[in-house]
Amino acid sequence: MFKKCLKYDLKAFAKIWLIAAAVMLVLSVVCSIGLGSFINATASMAVIEGQGSEPDSLQIMSLVARMCIGMLCYIVLIYSLVIFLGGTSIMVLIRYYTKFFTDQGYLTFTLPVRRSTQFWSKAIAGFVYTAASGVVALISILMAIGSVIIALVMTPNAAESFPIEELTSIFTPVNGVCGVIALLLAILLIAAIVFASMMMNYLVITLAATMFRKLKILSVIVSYYVVNNIIAVPIIYVGTYGLMFALMFLAMGLETMFAVPVLAWLCIYALLLLGIVAAVTVGIILANFTVLRLERKLNLA
């Protein structure tokens, strides 16, 4: 039954999400070209000024036009990323609310499927779409940075005025095997934080929808604000983000503190793993509360 539930939960978003992701990627390509053109123009101008010659009016007009287009592309890219990522999260939460707590819940909860199965199917489908959106956003950002690097590389003598080496280092492999392991663990930590945050959102919706019979959407918003401040801030954000920042500082200092670099890496791994375990544990506890509430207090009047 879990496979069937997951199939429908994944299918529900597939069409709209694929269209949104395709639009996002096309926008990223267009914006990256615009950004590249802007950087190329700025770099060319800096090179001309560096050589001590004055740019002519045509060059200034071209620069202003490319700057405007570049800025527009930058703004469009940032807003579309926010809308795409935020839209995915909202879509996932709306589906959860609609399938469980509106008239559609009459069908959902009269299926011969356990409520925990229904919940985890929606949670996993939501997580898959959130993670996939994160990957699409990362590709878009890398495309934009890539276009900036290409524009700088194509401009003669630009390396003297712009930090091309620092930018290209983003695309170089991380510090050997130890670095790759740390990077993978860091990605897992981010995924675990996203998971815990999603579970908190589901709990908030479930609490509000099962406690209040009227003004459910308003009560969801109020409950979100309350629970977010009570649970999310101290546990999820301070706990896991704090851990990440601590890691960064430790990563900088440990290699110099320890005579053996392996020990430094082991400390980093241990801290990253601790963060992952903490976030996943919080997520599972919140999920269990939600399932318990669905099993014991469901009232679809």
């Binding site: 009459y106 299926l111 011969p112 679809l300 009047a301």
Partner: protein, 238 residues
């Protein structure tokens, strides 16, 4: 003797503290019966069906389905028709049939297709393009195309035209498994009276009167519709 399909014992439900909708209600349904659950607005008919189907959690009391305490697995033998449409408006009728086929092993797709054809409903149509009455017909057809043991029909004929009403009642009688039971709630007592084996009048969260429909008609020399008007007029004046 066969065990009852449904047993509700001392069932209590209230939405607000100290305002019971169901008050220690006892209700038993034997196999192979069509039972009319009748009562005025707000007497607790729909609440009872929602408790049986698991959409509401009782404050106290027990519900037993086919000898087992109610659980998610009971939904495999219960076919519930709520009073409001529960499908996503983006789904087509065909997609709904796929959904039922996937989740209910007792769903008879060919029977469903025949009934849709009889009611001239296009399986390719999306829910949002259908009228309110047609949506109700689609939902009823899907619910009745299951080979369930207990059918819970909440106002199945309330929103459809008289011609379709007749077809729906014929469908209810003709398609359910003879070992199964049907519970119908409705205000249109005169319309459903002919198909009922048993009846239960619900008033203020309790069963005010119940029994065999034919016997009660014979004893009182009145139709259920007339008896309903009399009982509830009396209970209001008391």
């Amino acid at each position: 003797m066969n065990q009852p399909i449904l047993v509700c014992e001392k069932l209590c439900k209230s939405y607000k503290r100290n305002v019971p909708v169901l008050d220690e209600l006892d209700f038993v349904v034997e196999p192979g019966r069509i039972v009319g659950l009748l009562g005025p607005n707000g007497c607790g008919k729909s609440t009872l069906l929602k408790l049986i189907s698991g959409l509401l959690t009782p404050n106290s009391g027990t519900i037993t389905i086919c000898g087992e305490p109610r659980s998610e697995q009971s939904n495999a033998v219960i076919s519930f028709l709520p009073e409001r449409p529960y499908f996503s408006s983006a789904m087509t009728v065909n997609a709904m049939m796929d959904y039922f086929e996937d989740f209910y092993t007792d769903f008879d797709r060919s029977l469903c297709e025949v009934m849709l054809k009889d009611l001239a409903i296009d399986p390719k149509a999306r829910m949002r393009t259908l009228s309110k009455g047609t949506k109700e017909k689609v939902q009823l057809v899907l619910v009745m195309a299951r080979r369930a043991k207990l059918y819970l029909l909440d106002e199945p004929i309330g929103g459809v035209d008289p011609a379709a009403r007749e077809y729906i009642l014929k469908t209810i009688i003709g398609n359910y498994n003879p070992e199964a039971s049907v519970i119908i709630t409705t205000h249109l007592i005169a319309d459903v009276e002919g198909v009922l084996d048993d009846f239960a009048f619900v008033d203020a969260g309790k069963i005010a009167m119940c029994g065999n429909a034919d016997e009660v008609r014979e004893q009182n020399g009145k139709s259920l519709d007339e008896l309903f008007r009399e009982v509830f007029r009396c209970s209001r004046n008391a």
